[in-house]
């Protein structure tokens, strides 16, 4: 785990408030809208400068949609995306026009999941990595060349490979190229959407380590997306657990692992492979299907699968609020439940 900087003492770099995005479902000859997929349904969190915040959740819970809406690769329906610029001004990325966003793009860069489709196969490594510099008119050709050499060294690739095309590299190497591209214009926030889930397990660790080293070296801020809790545990300072477009719980990895407050988090953690056989008896098995975001259940979206659901859960949506211990949870029963974490002392005897 990285040494967590003094989280909380600094002003947030990015603050997301009540973000919503739904996609119309179109059917039939006339392409009539017959419903909406609520991909992101009221998501709020904030990221402090220098920290790594992770979004976790099952496939389809809206992680990609959240980060794409933040980056304005798609337009959010509602909510605020407050970003603190270099001049210490706060702008709402959600409401700016695309032409006003363009100059801000150099502060927020992205690392993609698929190292194969995210690099244009027709461009050389030099052209790829220097593109952010070129389109933002930074430096002369020679300066850009020097910068690419420097970046390739930083991500552990040899500068001689500059004239090669992406097809000559392995998945892990391509992901390093993607990281170099994201670093090229010294962004202040790097959004990484499942940067390692397309890689072999052995290569995953290398790339995660590289990202953590670069963070230490350049004081980067990461918004990290993953569905893999063990990866998240390794890299994050804080974690946002999402379920069907909503935030279930926010906390540090230790808090979530050892003392989950939301039944969904507890279920996710107990689904991790564990070495201690005594603990197996205590595992909460997630039953039923993940809710359909086109037709979510009433009340708490998790209630059809929740072993602790009460009548209130079926009608009333739990808000995301601080519980008695100051943790952010959206569960009606957060204060009364005693949930089992990964290695909670005495868990086996219960």
């Amino acid at each position: 785990m990285t040494d967590a900087p003094n989280v909380g003492t600094k002003k947030p770099l990015l603050e997301v408030n009540n973000l919503k995005k739904s996609f119309p479902i179109k059917k039939g000859f006339l392409q009539r809208t017959v419903g909406h997929v609520r991909a992101v349904d009221d998501v709020s969190f904030s990221i402090t400068e220098g920290e790594t915040l992770s979004l976790v959740g099952e496939s389809g819970c809206g992680k990609t949609t959240t980060v794409r809406a933040i980056m304005r690769a798609i337009n959010p329906d509602e909510g605020q995306v407050l970003f603190r610029t270099r001049d210490d001004e706060t702008v709402d990325l959600a409401e700016l026009s695309l032409s006003k966003i363009r100059p801000l793009r150099r502060d927020i860069q992205m690392i993609f999941q698929d190292p194969f489709s995210s690099l244009n196969p027709r461009m050389t490594i030099f052209q790829l990595i220097s593109e952010p510099l070129l389109v933002n008119r930074i430096g002369t050709h020679e300066e850009r060349q020097d910068r690419v050499v420097e970046l390739l060294r930083q991500v552990g690739l040899r500068p001689e490979y500059m004239q090669r095309f992406p097809h000559a590299f392995s998945g892990g190497q391509r992901q390093r190229i993607g990281i170099a591209r994201a670093l090229a214009i010294n962004p202040r926030l790097i959004v990484a959407d499942e940067p390692v889930s397309g890689l072999d397990v052995s290569v995953q660790a290398q790339v995660i380590n590289l990202m953590m080293d670069l963070q230490d070296e350049f004081g980067l801020t990461y918004l990290f997306v993953s569905h893999d809790l063990s990866v998240v545990n390794q890299i994050s300072d804080r974690v946002v657990v999402m379920y069907v477009g909503r935030v279930a719980e926010v906390g540090t990895p230790q808090e979530l692992f050892h003392n989950p407050k939301h039944p969904y988090t507890a279920a996710l953690i107990s689904s991790l492979p564990i070495s201690d056989p005594k603990q197996r008896a205590e595992r909460t098995v997630l039953e039923g299907e993940i809710a359909n975001p086109a037709n979510p259940p009433s009340g708490c979206y998790f209630h059809p699968r929740c072993p602790f659901a009460i009548d209130k859960c079926k009608v009333e949506t739990p808000p995301l609020k601080e519980d008695s211990s100051g943790r952010l949870v959206s569960c009606h029963r957060a204060d009364e439940l005693e949930l089992v974490g990964a290695t909670k002392p005495g868990a086996a005897t219960g």
Binding site: R105, M110, P121, R181, D213
Partner: protein, 382 residues
């Protein structure tokens, strides 16, 4: 944690030069290497290159003015070139003389190989302008001046009813048919790319309108429509005007396929990660379209165009054959084949059907070449 990149580098250092060559090969080179493996397509491409060279040098290759008619030499059989006279190399053709058969009133021709007409390369013939600019009277093949008698003639592929040289006419017909196809493809390429790109890139209402236009265009039966339009051509239009009118009409109907290809490509491209990546790094729309999107599928466009070309050529040939397209005295494969429309031809003057051979050859070659290009351009083929 730093040891792993080093391991990677060591592995890369051990690559041999072949891999090094592939590493720095652009996408275009990779496509070319893949295309080269497709032997049939390479042969087909060579055939197409030869045919278009013939188009450019039709005058130089011709032996007679294609429009010169001599009624008394009508329907003469071909005169093949003999390279040896006994054992002595002496290129010549045999003289052919004819008389009218008093019973059938047909002309009967007798080939008389004792009378030899010497031929040579780069002989003098009718005057023309090479490539449209250099005036000359040299032709690839012709009769030698020194032994020439006024009644000598050379008709390599025989003559038609009006006594016009089939070989020269075939060259000029090839010129018209192949360029009509090419212009038509270029025109429909422009239409297809522009409309397809707008449709695929912007989507929404514009896309919907263009797609309906494509469907309407495709649903119109072409032959009756061509008939209608051909009937509407003023009869006093020059050959050139009709030529262009036909090109435009054919391409107005042929752009839809290309528009579909281009639109589909743009739609899938728009969601490609590397396009999003370019957008997120601050690239403007022009750069995204011209630097990232279009280059990723121009090989597909070339393949689609190559496959559209034979359809164009067939369309022109069909129209002219049916008397709806170019009309004599214009020469095209269609008008040449019009002369071979009856049973008599097959029985008595089979050489009039020779123009069918280049049609078949070119159409097949274009199809093989297009298939080869498409396979080479498609990264998922192997």
């Amino acid at each position: 944690m730093e040891s792993n990149p080093v391991e990677h580098e060591l592995a890369l250092e051990m690559e041999d030069t072949v891999e090094e060559r592939i590493s720095v090969a652009s996408q275009r080179q990779l496509i070319w290497w893949r295309f080269r493996k497709h032997r049939v397509a390479v042969v087909a491409t060579a055939i197409i290159v030869i045919f278009y060279t013939m188009v450019i040098f039709a005058d130089f290759l011709a032996t007679n003015v294609p429009a010169d008619s001599e009624a008394f030499r009508g329907l003469m059989p071909p005169q093949p070139v003999h390279i040896f006279d006994g054992w002595k190399p002496s290129p010549h053709v045999c003289a052919v003389s004819g008389a009218r058969n008093p019973i059938t009133f047909q002309k009967d021709y007798v080939t008389d190989c004792t009378e030899k007409i010497q031929v040579r390369l780069f002989a003098r013939g009718y005057e023309y302008k090479l490539l449209g600019v250099i005036p000359t009277d040299r032709h690839l093949l012709g009769m030698s001046d020194d032994t020439l008698r006024p009644e000598d003639h050379i008709y390599l592929l025989g003559t038609d009813k009006q006594g016009r040289d089939m070989y020269s006419r075939l060259l000029f017909g090839t010129r018209i048919s192949l360029t009509i196809g090419l212009f038509g493809v270029v025109l429909s390429l422009v239409l297809g790319i522009v409309l397809g790109a707008i449709s695929g890139f912007y989507g929404g209402l514009i896309d919907n309108l263009i797609q309906r236009l494509v469907e309407i265009t495709r649903s119109i039966p072409s032959i009756p429509l061509y008939m209608g339009i051909a009937a509407a051509f003023p009869h006093d239009w020059s050959i050139l005007k009709i030529y262009f009118a036909i090109t435009i009409i054919i391409s107005l109907f042929a752009w839809t396929d290309l528009a579909r290809v281009v639109r589909g490509r743009f739609l899938t491209m728009r969601d490609e990660d590397f396009v999003t990546a370019a957008m997120l790094s601050g690239a403007n729309q022009r750069r995204i379209i011209f630097r990232h999107m279009l280059p990723s599928f121009y090989s597909h466009i070339i393949a689609a165009a190559t496959l559209a070309l034979p359809l164009m050529i067939i369309a022109e040939t069909t129209l002219s054959f049916l008397g709806l397209g170019l009309r004599p005295p214009a020469i095209s494969w269609g008008t040449l084949l019009q002369d071979a429309q009856n049973v008599q031809t097959i029985a008595l003057t089979p050489w009039l059907m020779i123009p069918a051979l280049p049609v078949i050859l070119v159409i097949l070659a274009l199809n093989f070449m297009g298939d080869g290009l498409r396979d080479a351009a498609d990264p998922y083929s192997n």
